[in-house]
């Protein structure tokens, strides 16, 4: 903007600036803590005196309380879930009394299930983002969000951080860059999240708790999970800036090439279980070897561990997380394909990433950790319902996802490709051959 001409400066009398009163945050001893002994903040002294710190004890107590509460509610809800059939027939009769045709009741029941799955994805969005920020904080000996929630200090670890962030993102301005192709830019987030939600249909949240009991559940999931890469490339191209174009192209190459090891690594599981249906796979893992070791596929001597490792690595790559996050590598491409997004569109990308992490951990739990089954045949474990075991295993796997992200550096683009084509795939095929030998000699179907 051009400098104001001299006469214009003199002519316009400066309006009296409003009295700006700066809030003076004077902190004296009353309303805050002054740390006089600076050396008390040194890490070694804090680590040595950890049990004397009130915050540390309070945190440990809260963790134990949460685990106990989950166990109790799980046991309480255990009984309700067995009455799934009565609930369906109750709605059936209630509908019939109003003259609804059986077909419409079926539609209502399916609508209920769809809403339930959608709820799982949204609640997961809230929960896992907060959980990742807390875990990454504590890994890095800092604290993570603590002030969100009730203002007067009863805000246990900032529980309300993610809803408030969601609200903020809702209210944020949704900028479409001038150089962008407007339609493709707006459509990209939709194409990214839709397949993810659809892919959740056959996922079983416990024994007989799948929204749609499809016979080809596994194939269905991988088919839809593959579509969202189109949305990523659209986002990359449509943002009109070079960095996101690079990010989008890298994402395309990475996700497509990691589909293969992801698919091939579970072929041994399908061979052992004999069907693609997730519930059947989960049921094939019931029973215990020598009474103690559960018959989970992960415990099959060599085949299980290799398949589990490859599937875990491929799932981490599928969700664009470190060490495979070259599409949104902060240090190179600023933030890859979703640089030019803001507000709700950006949060949809974020939501999809965590939905895929949840999908990956549910699949890991179902295929390798016997979704819904109890790890030990003794009394206290059997009382807990199957969906709580499924949830516990999924959260354990999600923790592994987060743990990997905050430990390992990032692979380079071509190393990432070499890794999958020259290392993971050959090992997948070797694993399938080994599984074939198992079937031939050991596991007489």
């Amino acid at each position: 903007m051009t400098a104001p001409t001299p006469d214009e400066k003199v002519a316009a009398p400066k309006p009296p600036t409003p009295k700006f009163v700066m809030p003076v945050p004077v902190l004296n001893r009353s309303n805050g803590r002054l740390i006089e002994d600076r050396f008390s903040t040194w890490p070694q002294r804090i680590f040595d005196s950890k049990w004397s710190l009130p915050s540390y004890r309070f945190g440990a107590a809260m963790l134990v309380a949460i685990a106990a509460a989950l166990y109790a509610t799980g046991w309480l809800v255990g009984e309700l879930s067995t009455r799934g059939e009565q609930a369906y027939s109750l709605i059936f009769h209630y509908g019939a009394s109003y003259g609804l045709s059986p077909l419409s009741v079926g539609v209502i029941w399916i609508a209920l299930k769809v809403i339930a799955v959608l709820l799982v994805i949204l609640v997961n969005g809230l929960w896992s983002i907060w959980w990742e920020r807390k875990i990454s904080a504590h890994i890095q000996s800092r604290v993570g969000p603590t002030f969100a929630g009730s203002p007067k200090g009863r805000n246990f670890h900032g529980w309300a951080q993610t809803p408030i962030d969601g609200l903020k993102l809702l209210l944020k301005e949704d900028i479409t860059p001038a150089a962008a192709d407007r339609w493709v830019h707006a459509l990209a987030p939709a194409i990214v999240i839709a397949p993810c939600i659809i892919a959740f249909a056959p996922v079983s949240f416990g024994s007989q708790l799948a929204a749609a009991n499809l016979d080809i559940g596994t194939l269905y999931i991988f088919a839809f999970a593959g579509i969202s890469v189109i949305g990523v490339v659209m986002a990359g191209w449509a943002s009109g800036n070079k960095y996101s174009l690079l990010g989008g192209l890298r994402a395309a190459a990475q996700i497509v090439s990691y589909e293969l090891p992801r698919g091939f690594s579970i072929v041994p599981v399908l061979m052992f279980a004999g069907s693609l249906n997730l519930s059947v796979i989960a049921d094939a893992q019931t029973g215990f070897w020598w009474g103690v070791v559960p018959k989970w596929f992960v415990f099959y001597p060599v085949v299980g561990q290799i398949a589990f490792a490859i599937f875990l690595i491929a799932s981490v790559a599928e969700t664009n997380r470190t060490p495979f996050d070259i599409p949104e590598a902060e240090s190179e491409l600023v933030s890859g394909f979703h640089t030019e997004y803001s507000g709700m569109k950006w949060s949809i990308f974020f939501l999809t990433e965590y939905a895929y992490v949840l999908l990956g951990s549910f699949l890991l739990a179902t295929f390798f950790l016997g979704g819904g089954g109890a790890p030990l045949p003794y009394a206290p474990f059997l009382l807990v319902p199957s969906w709580l075991w499924m949830l516990a295993k999924a959260l354990l796997m999600m923790f592994v996802f987060l743990w990997i992200r905050w430990t390992l550096p990032r692979l380079r683009a071509d190393q990432l490709m070499d890794f999958t084509w020259k290392f993971l795939l050959p090992w997948c095929f070797a694993n399938i051959a080994l599984a074939g030998l198992y079937l031939a000699f050991w596991l007489k179907p």
Binding site: R38, S136, S141, R142, T322, E330, L408, P409, A413, D414
Partner: protein, 378 residues
Amino acid sequence: MSNQVTNAPSNSPVKTDQLFINLGPQHPSTHGVLRIGLTIEGEIIIKAVPDVGYLHRGTEKLAEVRGYHHCVVLSDRWDYVSAMPNNLVFCLAAEKLLGVKPPPRADALRVVMCETNRIASHLLFLGTYGIDLGAFTPFLYAFREREMILDLFEMLCGARLTYNYIRLGGVMVDVSPEWTARLKEFVEYFKPRLDEYDTLLTYNPIFMSRTKGVGLISAKEAVDWALSGPNLRGSGVNYDVRKHEPYCGYEQYDFDVPLGETGSCWDRYFCRAQEMRQSLRIIEQALAKLPEGPFMATGVAKIPKPAAGEAYAHVEASRGDLGIYLASDGGISPFRMHVRAPSFANLAILQEKLTGMKISDVIALLGSTDIVLGEVDR
């Protein structure tokens, strides 16, 4: 498996059009205001033009109207990440002009300060290099340790970055016994942490694959481009000013100089990681036999007017061989002060090394040379 791209991209059958990308001056991993104009084809870089001068404050011109004591304050602002060697090098040059000999206690204190500051500076390098390659956690651990050193410096000379502690003829203030006890406590705490960084970063397979074969600088090239410090020693050239021309009594302490083999990014990183261990050894030896006596030489005037003449002094700063050429015409301010900045020479090699590399390797090479723009632009 060497990651270096051998075939020149231009003769590849697929003719893609070239893209011009501005890396910087605001970019998460350029460690300051540096702009590199990259012409890329797909992922391979065709031409790279580093552009410096964004942080040029004209310290050499400013020095011509400032007294000698004032220039020490100026020297804090060159390599703002490790300011003690800057103060030291200016004081050494000025003391040569004035003919003042600092007492032995001041020399020992200067060695302790420079080595502690070297650890802090290498910690910052370790953290930011981890982030450049995607590992976020080592950054937080490195800064947690660096915070302890900054507390020590705040307790001693009152500032966390711009110390103004080493003065003409000695040091500003003596070291209290509590300070040395806290420094010993830090040294004990820091040793196991270094082993943790080795497992977290140095011997991590992904980190090694990202840095082992990348940015190879041969010994001849390194000397030709006048690199210095860990960048030179990473290529296997044994040139450390503390051993070549010992100053401030460095010949009394025994420490060895880590050398790399191939001059790759990993070797430069490895040299800095090992240097931190050597600095710990020097600090322990220096604290063990801290000589008694005055900490400031007598006879340094409030406004010194050295006789006409020239002096050249250079020290092993954290980033390399930092030299000061000081010419005086007998007046109250230096007639000419030239700062031979190691980062200025270390950055120059980028314009030749970057062609043919991938984008993520640019960040790896730039990070491994560990430049600070305050020192490049002066």
